[in-house]
């Protein structure tokens, strides 16, 4: 059973709660990413699963076994947890060759030499590093070192693998390549993976489910698509992708009123739990505003050509909207344009 379960886990450092009441079940063979801004607690959570930190409250289960418990004082040290882990800085041992690095966990369990060679060669071929066994880490590029770390984590055929922002030190193109490779490997080998990242694109591309975290709390645990299209919360909506927030008032079951400082506009939007007359915040993604025809008139304040899309800042009265238009039709700065607001969401007005 390679299911990992966190139940109400809390961890505090010097009166600052790094992780608060986190509960999540990572199923067998699932790829779950922990996504959030710096300091949100994702790395602390990963380290608690690995056993480098102990939760102050709550329990962590591997399958049915409790590996860490805050209250009951149970703790299984990292060397007994049978995990594979890849660190952000790769953590390959500089004084050992690539072969020795990958062979290390096998030698710890005293595997015989013939088997070691076979297993290491297999692991190196999985990450496409065949033939580089006798090189030393300082003779390899960053990407290659990362693959060594990956091979070392895979060589014991772990059921659960933990990755802590493994691609942050790589250049953009390599990062993209490695994303697909890692995801590919995971699917092929059926490993449960817990992946920490602050890069949304990574989380979207690779995960089966994503845990969006901020300040120690999990805001939403869902498939990437649901997180993007149905964010549970203003923070999630803001953190994932681009979004516009406009204050509005609910008029009836399907309509809200926008006051833009010069006039009012009615916008069709599902109002969910809101009541008539309530104030709310309308959230619109840039690609959900259609240009060229529509009930609202705006002026183009800025247009940036990005190749595949155009990034516009459009003034709707005194409100500035960020809109993405397709590359086929180009509107220029200063032009007046009609627009229509498509899919949108409502959130409560900000507490402050």
């Amino acid at each position: 059973m390679s299911e990992v379960r966190l139940v109400n886990v809390t961890k505090t450092f010097d009166a600052v709660a790094a992780v608060r009441n986190l509960s999540v079940t990572i199923r067998d063979g699932e790829f779950v990413s922990l996504l959030g801004p710096s300091g949100c607690g994702k790395t602390t959570t990963l380290r608690m699963i690995a056993g480098f930190e102990r939760p102050d409250q709550g329990e962590i289960y591997f399958g049915d076994e409790v590996v860490s418990s805050g209250e009951k004082n149970i703790f299984l040290p990292p060397e007994k947890r049978k995990l594979g882990m890849v660190f952000q800085s790769y953590a390959v041992w500089p004084h050992m060759s690539v072969f020795d690095n990958v062979a290390y966990p096998l030698r710890v369990i005293k595997m015989n030499r013939g088997e070691v060679k076979e297993t290491v060669d297999h692991a190196l071929s999985l990450v496409k590093l065949e033939g580089l066994g006798s090189r030393y880490p300082h003779q390899l590029s960053g990407g290659q070192q990362q693959r060594v770390a990956l091979a070392r984590a895979l060589v014991m055929e772990p059921e659960v693998m933990l990755l802590d922002e493994p691609l942050s030190n790589l250049d953009a193109k390599l990062r993209e390549e490695m994303r697909f490779e890692i995801k590919d490997l995971q699917k092929r080998l059926g490993i449960t993976v817990i992946y920490v990242t602050h890069d949304q694109a990574e989380a979207m591309v690779m995960s089966d489910r994503t845990v969006v975290m901020n300040e120690g709390l999990a805001y939403q645990i869902d498939e990437p698509r649901k997180i993007y299209e149905q964010p549970a919360d203003r923070f999630v909506a803001d953190f994932i992708g681009l979004i516009n927030f406009v204050e509005c008032e609910v008029i009836d079951e399907r309509t809200v009123l926008l006051k833009d400082g010069t006039g009012v506009h009615k916008v069709e939007c599902g109002i969910g739990d809101f009541n008539k007359g309530e104030r709310a915040v309308l959230a619109i993604r840039p690609e959900n505003v259609s240009l060229g025809a529509g009930p609202i008139r705006g002026t183009i304040k800025r247009a940036v050509y990005l190749g595949n899309v155009l990034d516009y800042r459009i003034m709707m009265g005194k409100i500035e909207l960020r809109v993405q238009g397709e590359a086929g039709v180009i509107y220029n700065e200063g032009e007046e344009i009609d627009l229509a607001i498509g899919r949108c969401l409502l959130f409560p007005p900000q507490a402050c």
Binding site: E79, M85, F87, W93, Y104, P105, I109
Partner: protein, 310 residues
């Protein structure tokens, strides 16, 4: 190319002479206090006891004579010097391994406890005492009274368990070990400090990666930590070898070099200021320098390597 030169303001250009003017004061001090004494020492080693005649004047008929190197013959082959060499070798083997091993052990252990700073301060404290002070303290520790009353700490302990008192400093065999213990007591703090700093420089993630892969603490220490700090250990060892070769105070204060405990530096001192044999003393000094040179070269090379790695 000269156009670059023209653009540099005149005040920043240095002539050929200027650098020499800056260095001259240091050069004067160095030649007076280092270069001149060195040359003088070498010259004296080729002359006899009161430097009136060349060293060959000390030759005795019927015995081997090295001519002008007569003093070196004494320094290298006389039985007194051979004892001193043997003792120095013992000192090097035991004190260097003792201080480095103890220093490493304490550095590793102190790293893991809450009272780390206190522990390290206590271990380092003996280094703050002068060698002479240490010699006096330990002389009391090792004191042997021929009567019933033992004022030395060790012998007092032995007395309470009904064991016979030991004359630590005069018994051959034990006395050298007793002196080396004092040396280790003094210098462990030095090794510990440097090795503790090296330990803290090992990236934690490397250790965590080893633990996640199933390694026990013992394995982590021998296979990961030790190889990574090996360059520092090498520097510490060579520095300690140089220190040990110069040992003088401990031996002089505690036994005066008697009872077979003499080391090279002691002999040098006694030849110069007791026997007034300046030729022999300077020859011994030169021998000591020659022995230290390889260790120094190794040390400097290692240090430069480390600097280059930054």
């Amino acid at each position: 190319m000269s156009s670059v030169d023209d653009r540099v303001p005149k005040i920043m250009k240095q002539g050929r002479v200027a650098p020499w003017l800056y260095v001259t004061p240091a050069l004067i001090v160095m030649s007076f206090f280092i270069v001149y004494p060195m040359i003088s020492t070498v010259l004296l080693s080729f002359r006899n006891a009161d430097s009136t005649l060349p060293a060959s004047a000390a030759c005795v008929a019927g015995q081997p004579c090295w001519g002008i190197f007569e003093n070196y013959r004494y320094a290298l082959t006389s039985s007194i010097m051979l004892t001193a060499f043997r003792n120095n070798l013992l000192w090097i083997l035991l004190m260097v391994s003792g201080t480095v091993a103890m220093g490493l052990l304490i550095a590793v252990l102190a790293d893991r406890v809450r009272y780390e700073k206190t522990a390290k301060a206590i271990i380092f404290l003996p280094m703050a005492i002068s060698f002479v002070g240490a010699g006096v303290i330990w002389k009391f520790m090792y004191d042997y009274g021929s009567g019933k009353i033992q004022i030395g700490l060790l012998n007092a302990i032995l007395k309470t368990v009904e064991a016979p008192a030991v004359s630590w400093l005069t018994q051959p065999g034990i006395n050298i070990l007793a002196l080396i213990v004092v040396g280790i007591w003094m210098w462990t703090g030095f090794c510990m400090t440097i090795l503790a700093a090296a330990l803290k420089g090992v990236p934690t993630e490397i250790l965590e990666a080893a633990r996640v892969d199933g390694a026990t603490e013992w394995r982590v220490f021998w296979r990961i930590i030790l190889p990574v700090i090996m360059p520092t250990i090498a520097v510490v060892i060579t520095t300690m070898i140089i220190n040990v070769l110069k040992i003088f105070d401990i031996v002089y204060v505690m036994t005066g070099g008697n009872y077979g405990t003499e080391v090279i530096a002691n002999r040098m001192y006694l030849e110069m200021y007791s026997s007034f044999q300046s030729g022999r003393a300077t020859a011994i000094a030169i021998v000591l320098i020659v022995v230290i040179i390889p260790a120094m070269i190794y040390n400097i090379r290692r240090f430069q390597e480390q600097e280059a790695m930054r």
